[in-house]
């Protein structure tokens, strides 16, 4: 059953309303600390616990905002010292505002049998393909990027790195893989998207 939504959800702790930082969060935070400069304005989409936003802010001295749909996540991120905004992806942010946008999206393909209908499912699953949230993000993120801005996006082999790269290409982005980490059940990749 390795790789099903139910299996991963249970492995990743479903007893809370907010996704706790895991290998994917740490990989994205490490890469972002290398990519972000002190004078950058950064947005962490789907900030959850605020781990990536707080780690990047501490590691780079940049101003990092955290956005999340989940009110519990917003409160927890704020408690972690993150400037939190309750938002649907990048919808309430001004055109050209950010130098870097980071996103560790919900990416597991939904498993109807494991449907939970709660905040943790929202944090984990990206629709039938696992790409619905990523695609909605890619449809709008260019709007909020500064002219030389970039996106750091965590993608899993469970989601389909090639499919995400192709979709980003249709939205005018070129992609480069900055880091990978392999696990028995998936390989995680951080893609840097630039226009």
């Amino acid at each position: 059953m390795t790789g099903t939504g139910e299996d991963l959800a249970s492995r990743r702790g479903v007893e809370t309303d907010v996704y706790d930082p895991a290998e994917d969060s740490r990989l994205l935070a490490d890469v972002a600390c290398d990519e972000v400069s002190a004078d950058d304005l950064v947005l962490d989409v789907g900030t959850g616990s605020g781990y990536v936003a707080a780690t990047v802010a501490d590691g780079t001295d940049a101003r990092v905002l955290g956005a999340d749909l989940n009110p519990h996540a917003c409160r927890r991120a704020r408690d972690a010292g993150v400037e939190a905004v309750r938002a649907d992806l990048v919808a309430p942010f001004c055109d050209g505002a950010f130098d870097v946008v980071t996103f560790n999206p919900p990416y597991l393909p939904a498993d109807a049998a494991a449907a939970r209908d709660d905040w943790m499912e929202v944090a984990l699953t990206g629709g039938e393909t696992g790409r619905e949230v990523v695609e909605a993000f890619l449809d709008d993120v260019a709007r909020v990027l500064a002219p030389d801005g970039s996106v750091l996006l965590l993608v899993s082999t469970l989601t389909g790195v090639e499919e995400v790269t192709a979709y980003a290409g249709e939205r005018g982005f070129s992609a480069a893989a900055l880091a990978d980490h392999s696990f028995p059940f998936e390989t995680l990749t951080v893609l840097k998207l630039v226009r």
Binding site: L41, L65, L69, N70, P71, C74, R75, R78, E83, A84, V85, R86, A87, D88, A91, P92, F93, C94, D95, A97, D117, D118, W119, E121, V122
Partner: protein, 64 residues
């Protein structure tokens, strides 16, 4: 939220500027207040320092 967040956020519906109405402020942060779109007039609450900029139809506390 910090007041200079006003330079970064906009109405999620039409992307116009927002007006800030402060109800309470602590340590240079707006703790409670209201954001109002200068174009469509939609209002967005600031509660416990967190602006809720979800479109009105997404504001429920439950995910479904």
């Amino acid at each position: 939220m910090k007041r200079d967040l006003m330079d970064i956020i906009c109405c999620p519906l039409d992307k116009h500027d927002l007006d800030l109405d402060v109800e309470s402020e602590e340590d240079d942060e707006v703790v409670a207040g209201t954001l109002t779109c200068t174009d469509c007039g939609e209002t967005y609450p600031i509660e416990d320092g967190i602006p809720n900029l979800l479109p009105p139809d997404m504001r429920e506390e439950t995910p479904a």
